[in-house]
Structures are given as structure tokens and as C-alpha cells.
């Protein structure tokens, strides 16, 4: 067999494999969207779920998902940023930093259901937070932390060492170099990483089942005082999210239109995650342009 023919065969095989991956992906997305899209309506997106009758929506679950996402990001981003700056800019190679890196790697490959059970035992039971937004947000942060740290660390590592030298040669301390040279240069790719991880957090179910709970009590959207238990902002109320809702109605739902609700909710979930993913890159590029030519 000559080299040209071998090359052709190899190329074809690679194309076929890549095509199959794309096919699986697109048919899955397509199936979910085709099933779910017809059921979407303003009413479906905004009204509360009904347990025993048809015509319920996903309003509260949708709100819960976004609220938990924001809280989880508020908790995990500063920690991840600090850890990434330490690991990439300050840490010297030592046993200690090796241990940290290994820990992060193990944490990032931990099944999210384990994170959920850990959260249940520690926050829900031990700290008596109950099934609550707070427990859920902390569990999500633990779930998110290792991946976000890694992604920010990679963003920082992409900034050439030359830039740090240039900073130092201009009389910047290490911290000033990080703050004024490295971070601004890394912002676009950090933002991309954050938005991508937001998509992952948004779709997470297992870590939340045992922490944020599986019930979505009625909320009073006129009451924004976080200390009232019926307020949407209350951190101590149980909060079923969209992903948990899908899991729950499929395992024990008894409403007559259960399949439609499940399909519609799945479609919404997929669409939101897709929006996160597509906007991540766009946003990163836009920020980079803005920051580099202001």
C-alpha cells in the first residue's frame, strides 16, 4: 500500500469518526429541542409547577436555577481566582504545591453525587442549614471550584513570561505585575472560562438533590426581603432547580402532562446552556478587543 492511499484511508476514517461524534451530539440536541420546543410558552416559563394537574410551568425552578448559579459563582469565583493566582504566579515547585494540585485534580474528578452527599451531611444535617439555597450554593461551589481554578490557572499561564519580565523591568512588584499586567491580559479568557463553568453549574442536578432539596414552595415575587422565607431571595428556603425538577418528575412525577413538562424543561435547560456556551467565546473576544484598544 502506498503512502498516498494510506493517507487517504486514514483521513476518511478520521472524518467518519468525527462525523459520528457530531451526529450523536446533534441528534440528541435535535431530539430534545423537537420534543420540547412546541411546549414552550410564556405561561410555561413563568407559572409555578403543578403536582397533580396538567398545565403547570417551571417558573420557580427557572428562577431557583439562576439564583443558585449566581450565589455559587459569587462564592467560588473569588476563591478560584485567588487559588489560581497563587498556583500560577507565586507557588514554587514543592511538595506542598504538588499536594494542592493533586487535591484539585481529585476534587475535579469527584462524582457530583458525592459532593451532594457531603453537602447533605455537613451543611444540611451538621450545620442545620436544612434543604436550602445556602446548602445548595455551597455544594455547587465545591463542585465548581476545582474546574474554575484550573480554567483560570490556564488563562494566567497563557500570558507569556515576557510580559511579567517587562512589568518587573518597569519597576513593578510581583503583585503589581499580576494586577496591572497579567490579570487585564487574561480577563477575556477568564471570562470565557467563568461563563462555560456557569453552563455546567446550571445543568447540575446530583449535587443539589440532597442539598437544595426537591421541593419548590410557592414564592411571593412581591417580597424581596431575603429574611422572609417566602421571598425569592431567602437563602434558607428549599429550592428545586430546573435540572433537579427534570430528574424528579421523571422518577416520581404524577401530573398527567408529565412528558410534556419534562420535554419542555429539558429544552429550556439545553437552550440556556447553549446560550452560555456560545456567548462565552463572543464575550471573551469582545472584552479582549475592548481592553486592548481602549
Amino acid at each position: 500500500m502506498n503512502a498516498k492511499l494510506a493517507d487517504k484511508i486514514a483521513t476518511t476514517v478520521i472524518y467518519v469518526i468525527a462525523g459520528m461524534v457530531a451526529l450523536v451530539l446533534f441528534s440528541m440536541l435535535g431530539f430534545i429541542l423537537v420534543q420540547g420546543l412546541p411546549h414552550l410558552s410564556w405561561h410555561f416559563l413563568t407559572s409555578p409547577a403543578l403536582s397533580f394537574e396538567a398545565g403547570g410551568g417551571i417558573g420557580i425552578q427557572l428562577f431557583n436555577s439562576f439564583y443558585l448559579l449566581v450565589l455559587a459563582m459569587v462564592i467560588s469565583f473569588p476563591i478560584a481566582l485567588g487559588a489560581a493566582i497563587y498556583l500560577n504566579e507565586y507557588a514554587k515547585k514543592s511538595v506542598w504545591t504538588n499536594i494542592i494540585r493533586t487535591a484539585i485534580e481529585i476534587l475535579s474528578s469527584l462524582p457530583s453525587v458525592v459532593v451532594g452527599l457531603f453537602g447533605f451531611l455537613l451543611f444540611v444535617v451538621q450545620f442545620k442549614f436544612g434543604f436550602s439555597i445556602l446548602s445548595g450554593a455551597i455544594a455547587l461551589s465545591i463542585f465548581n471550584l476545582p474546574l474554575l481554578t484550573r480554567s483560570i490557572e490556564t488563562s494566567l499561564a497563557q500570558i507569556p513570561y515576557l510580559q511579567r519580565e517587562a512589568g518587573a523591568a518597569l519597576g513593578l512588584s510581583r503583585w503589581e505585575t499580576v494586577l496591572h499586567v497579567v490579570l487585564p491580559a487574561a480577563v477575556p479568557s477568564i471570562v470565557t472560562g467563568v461563563v462555560l463553568s456557569a453552563g455546567r453549574v446550571f445543568g447540575e442536578a446530583a449535587a443539589l438533590i440532597f442539598t437544595a432539596g426537591q421541593s419548590a414552595p410557592a414564592l411571593n415575587f412581591m417580597d424581596w426581603n431575603p429574611f422572609n422565607i417566602s421571598s425569592p431571595l431567602s437563602p434558607m428556603r428549599p429550592a428545586e432547580t430546573l435540572a433537579v425538577h427534570i430528574w424528579k418528575i421523571n422518577s416520581e412525577g404524577i401530573m398527567p402532562d408529565l412528558n410534556l413538562v419534562s420535554a419542555g424543561a429539558s429544552a429550556v435547560l439545553i437552550i440556556v446552556v447553549l446560550i452560555f456556551n456560545f456567548s462565552a467565546r463572543k464575550l471573551g473576544m469582545k472584552l479582549f478587543k475592548k481592553l486592548t484598544s481602549s
Binding site: 514554587k92 515576557l162 519580565e165 517587562a166 518587573a168 523591568a169 518597569l170 519597576g171 499586567v181 486592548t292
Partner: protein, 254 residues
């Protein structure tokens, strides 16, 4: 007369990477103005020596520097020396152009802003003056707000020079500033340096002997971590007193 004095006097400079001695006691002085070229084959220690002068080795672990460095009458390696102040007085330009990913304007005023200068007019004047001194004002004066990364390599290098000049250094260290550039850009950088030689003391590390002979007033020849010879450039290239120098400039090794 201060002008008669040397701006920088180094004595018995030794430097170790871990246990390995890379500089074996260098004695070298630099006058108030003009260009001194450091030449020598790769690994001869010329860049290592240069980077010791503004304490760039502080960034690395595992590097030990000894010897005396007297800059403007004060000791560079004294524990009380503020490296921030020091590096403002001793500016550095690197082999790879390394503008920050900001606008040309923001690059040039970076050092000044950090020093707390906020007055727009002062900054504007510094930008124009520095870019003019780096011979790039005409090319970029209408695009100061565009990203410095959009410039060619040679232009980026001149912006890097302007960025250093904006902080009004007294001594300029140049670590092979043209070796990553095409001949036309290299020529522009050389012109820039020639225009600055009356105002600044400059030390340039270069691989190109023709560059050293074109632009420098004095030339120092390094070999294997030793300073072999330092003299007027003309003398070094026409009539060196050491056989090793003679061999190197005539291309017999290195």
C-alpha cells in the same frame, strides 16, 4: 565634573546558577553617556551580566550574585535599595518586543501612571516626547488608541523602547534588541539608539559584531563567563590586544 565620572562601576561580579558559577569576577565601568556593546558567543555570560545590573535575577530562584555594583554612587544590591526605584533609573529592553496588550498610549504611560501621574497633559506630553525619542511618533501618532499588538515587530520594539524612555531612566539596558527583527526594523532600532546616545548611557548585548561596530562607542568581549577585553570599539575591531578577541572577531570561533 560629574560627567567625567562613570555612571556604573562593577567590581568582581560573580554569579551562580545553583552551584555553577556563570560569571567569574567581572570588572567593568560605564560612562555617563554613549553606547557600550557586550559581545561574545552564546553562553559567554554577557546577557547574564546585563540582567544582574537591574536585578532581574531577583525574579528567579537559585541565582546568587556577589561583587560590587555602584550606580550613581549607591550600591545596587544594598538591602535598602528599592528595586522599583532602581528599575525606573535603569530601564531595560528585551530581545522579544513585549508591549502589553493595551493601546500604544497606555503602553507608553504605563510606568508614569503607576508612579501616580494622572494629569492628562503631562501624560500626553510624555507620550509624544518618548515616541519621538524612539523614532516612531510619525508612524503611530494617529493611532495612539489602537492596540500595540497590531504593530509590526520592529514598531512594537520601538514602542517598548518608548515605554522605557517615558520613565526617564539614566541607564538603558538592551538585551539583543534586534535579534528577533528583520533587517529593516533592525536598522530603524539602530538609528533610534544612535539618536539617543548623547542623552543616555546604554549597554547593549548583541550577537551581531557588525551591529556592535556600527553603533557602539565601547565594546566589551565576554568569553566563558570572563571579561576578556574592553576598549574603544574601533580599537577592539581593528587592533585588539588579546588573541582571543582577535580570534572571535575574525570569526575563528563562536
Amino acid at each position: 565634573m560629574k560627567n567625567q565620572d562613570n555612571i556604573l562601576i562593577t567590581r568582581d561580579v560573580r554569579l551562580w546558577y545553583g552551584q555553577k558559577e556563570a560569571l567569574h569576577g567581572i570588572d567593568l565601568d560605564f560612562p555617563q553617556k554613549g553606547i557600550t556593546a557586550l559581545i561574545g558567543p552564546s553562553g559567554s555570560g554577557k546577557s547574564t551580566y546585563l540582567r544582574a545590573l537591574n536585578r532581574m535575577h531577583d525574579l528567579e530562584d537559585n541565582v546568587t550574585v556577589t561583587g560590587s555594583f555602584t550606580f550613581d554612587g549607591s550600591d545596587i544590591y544594598a538591602p535598602t535599595t528599592d528595586t522599583v526605584e532602581l528599575r525606573k533609573k535603569i530601564g531595560m529592553v528585551f530581545q522579544q518586543p513585549n508591549p502589553f496588550p493595551f493601546s500604544i498610549y497606555d503602553n507608553v504611560v504605563f510606568g508614569l501612571r503607576l508612579a501616580g501621574v494622572r494629569d492628562r497633559q503631562t501624560l500626553d506630553e510624555a507620550v509624544e516626547k518618548s515616541l519621538k525619542a524612539a523614532s516612531i511618533w510619525k508612524e503611530v501618532k494617529d493611532s495612539l488608541n489602537k492596540s500595540a499588538l497590531g504593530l509590526s515587530g520592529g514598531q512594537q520594539q520601538r514602542v517598548s523602547i518608548a515605554r522605557v524612555l517615558a520613565t526617564s531612566p539614566e541607564l538603558l539596558l538592551l538585551d539583543e534588541p534586534t535579534s528577533a527583527l528583520d533587517p529593516v526594523s533592525s536598522h530603524n532600532i539602530e538609528e533610534t539608539l544612535m539618536n539617543l546616545r548623547d542623552q543616555y548611557a546604554m549597554i547593549i548585548v548583541t550577537h551581531s559584531m557588525s551591529q556592535a561596530s556600527r553603533i557602539s562607542d565601547r565594546t566589551a568581549f565576554f568569553l566563558d563567563g570572563d571579561l576578556i577585553e574592553v576598549d574603544d570599539t574601533r580599537k577592539i575591531f581593528l587592533d585588539p590586544s588579546q588573541k582571543k578577541t582577535q580570534d572571535y572577531i575574525s570569526g575563528r570561533f563562536g
